[in-house]
């Protein structure tokens, strides 16, 4: 387990997501300055819509929890642990850090 440098902070979009490719896996990165974590990383694959789209959903804050609404069928996925709020499915989630304008995520390789 090691920190992978993914991109620059300026590649991110405030309060929204972008997609990145990490070791052949699609990752959705969300930059949320209001959250203590600042940057979240979860899988880009929407297991219900069956497409790589989660990075293109709306970032939401519901009852104190940060999540993203899938752009296809609107289920919410927690940005912290990838758990789907409405259904019993889960997407992967990875720790992140933002240092000197650079974005890292920790992922088993």
């Amino acid at each position: 387990m090691q920190w992978n440098l993914i991109c620059k902070q300026s590649d991110l979009v405030v309060d929204a997501g972008v997609a990145a490719m990490v070791n052949g896996k699609q990752v959705a990165l969300f930059y949320v300055p209001a959250a203590p974590e600042q940057v979240f990383a979860i899988g880009n694959w929407d297991p219900i819509g069956k497409a790589n789209v989660l990075s293109r959903g709306l970032v939401t804050h519901l009852q104190g929890q940060w999540s993203v609404a899938s752009p296809l069928y609107k289920q919410h996925y927690s940005l912290l642990d990838g758990q789907c709020v409405e259904e019993d499915v889960k997407v992967p989630a990875w720790p992140t850090k933002l240092v000197d304008g650079k974005v890292y995520i920790r992922q088993p390789d």
Binding site: V14, A19, A20, M21, G57, L62, P71
Partner: protein, 852 residues
Amino acid sequence: MISKTSNRALKPHLVVIGNGMVGHHFIEQLIAQGGQDLYQITVLGEEPHLAYDRVHLSEYFSGKGAADLAMTDGSLYDENGIRYFTSSQVTEIHREAKTLTLETGEFLPYDKLVLATGSYPFVPPIAGHQRDNTFVYRTLEDLDAIRACAQHATRGTVVGGGLLGLEAANALKQLGLETSVVEFAPRLMPVQLDESGGEVLKVMIEKLGVSVYANTVTQEIIDGDDAYHRMNFADGSHLETDLILFSAGIRPQDALAKQSGLTVGERGGIAINNHCQTSDDSVYAIGECALWNNRIFGLVAPGYTMAKTAAGHLLGDASLSFTGADMSTKLKLLGCDVGSIGDAHGQSQGCKVFVYQDEMSQSYRKMVVSEDGKKLLGAVLVGDNSYYDTLLQYFLNAIDLPDQAQSLILPAMGDAPVGLGVDALPATASICSCHNVSKQDISDAVCKGALSVGDVKGVTKAATGCGGCAALLKKVVDNELLSLGVEVSTDLCEHFAYTRQDLYNLIKVEEIKSFKALLAKHGKGHGCDICKPAVGSILASVWNDYVLKKEHISLQDTNDRFLANMQKDGTYSIVPRIPGGEITPEKLIVLGEVAQQYKLYTKVTGGQRIDLFGATLSQLPAIWKQLIDAGFETGQAYGKSLRTVKSCVGSTWCRYGVNDSMTMAIDLENRYKGLRSPHKIKFAVSGCTRECAEAQSKDIGVIATEGGWNLYVCGNGGMKPRHGDLFATDLDDATLVKYIDRVLMFYTKTADRLQRTSVWMEGLEGGLDYLKSVVIEDKLGMCAELEAQMQAVVDTFQCEWKTTLEDDEALKTFRQFVNSEGEDTNVVFVEERNQVRPATDLEKQQLIAKVG
């Protein structure tokens, strides 16, 4: 035409004579209870049409066609094996032989017979009553004849100042005639109103330009000097008029009963018992031809109850019975509210009366209460019917009156609550009399999951008859929801304790320009997928900023953020604007070339434009660059905004076109294309009444007429199709645009999020009439502001794709991956009918297996 061999051996033969509103309802009731399995059913109607909505007959003059008024197109009958014959008059009943004779001489056997022959207009035997250019007001054919005559007439007179007479007067006025009403009783609406009420109504109606001659007896009708007729009155005076319409009451159509020896009343009407059987127990009579307890019921609701009773009895359910009906009515006549409940004339023993009269605002209200002051026995309302629902419920349910009973008819002072909470109504309270729906029926429907007024209407049919109970129904439904603990909160979401309309006003008045600023001032938390796009849309409506501006980007739903519609596999579709559906061959070729180059699936949409599917995120800017270079603009198929203005070719090409619908459609599309609205908006413009562009199914529909344009509003297709309502007629170009500006801006300001124009309009208190008063009469004094706001939107239009292509920051978001070049390997196409389509899961596995 009609087979003479009966099917008796198989099933008894049930024949219904008369296919009016009640006859039709009877068939519906039979079918609902499976009657077609027990009986072979035949319907015979004298009119050339199947049953139509006579209650709304006058709307035939305000834009509705015969098809709009039709209660069935025959498919209900066909699907259930019911034979029906229009233009078929029955002339004789032979009760011993159990056969009928038709006008054509044909015979038809029956086992059970239902008479639903309705009534006919009474024409007083005044000398000259049969002259040309005299009419009655009952059928579609009557209205056609009146319309034809009115085209070369200037003055019209109605004989009879009752309910129908005043409705007919309104129709003559709408046809552009100088209108008079001649009533032989001392006041208008003598049956429903007392003297003072009649007087107030007379003043109101005269103010509207209709002359009223009360207490006037017509002696003869002869040739006029400067008009077609002259009516000579008993007092020596006279009136000249081109057209005369008799509306002096109705008489039950009991000719067949008399001919066949059934018992009829002294003054007509086929006598029936509580099961609606006549003096011959295999013959039933229902509706306006029937006489129960020596009374005729000239309204549709009692007729429906009779229909249900007779159908039940014929199917072996004797538990239903007809035991009279409430004849209370409320109406808007010539724009004046009139209501009458129970014993309006105060004839009950010992009753006491409260009267309120206001000569300033022309209103009159009277309550008749029992001797002990506890119960309401009757009421009269003129000028303001907002008191009607409450009074009616006190009356129908015999609810004890409050201590200060007179407060029920006094104008509201301060904010003291007047009226009866729906809570107080007993479960048996009748909410909709047309369809006999009680409060209990509504609460049952809500419990079973009908959680909106629309759903409850669908399940119970409440408010789908005369519509008079709609406001009350909404209150009852809301109340039921509340008591079930379903929150009818109007808060947008947990972040804003405001409605969309509140937020619109806050943003506008406080000049708030970003979501962050709004949240800081009026909200809490960080926003969600409900409030962000809603506020994004309001900001765009009010300030018309570029939607991908840094501070707005995170508010946009995926389609708005990437200015394209996401498809199931994560690719996008591309819809350039093709105003009015008109496109040059050159531009068509460009679309073809682009589609070919990027291998996009190509389809003509339901909105008369061309959609290219299967572009990946990173391809979008390049594709749009080529399209914009060729002169295309974004079609905003992704936005809650103007979609398409559908058009027909109109007078330029079509031999029937009466105006240039093509130019109008293109101009309208270009005018409103930048408007962001609560939901999508669709228009259509047709070049004549053949309506090839289907304008009546659009939010804004425009149809060319000889005199300009007719404007329809608030229609839609989709999940719950709704025909648009005729809003204004024969408009010139400038007025048309002005009205559309106002309607759309008022909608944008006041509608709920994701509420289309139809639902919005139905939710406005006062509905269409209210909208007209705001837009046409400027009731709220805001028309100038609405127009200015629309002009600002028009003036600040930008093609969002053009702006995006010039903005490097915005372009960055179209990268598939921030850290590498590759494409999404899950996007896989296969070919079908020579074009691509997304591969199915199975196909993907097979393809990957092959490659791997």
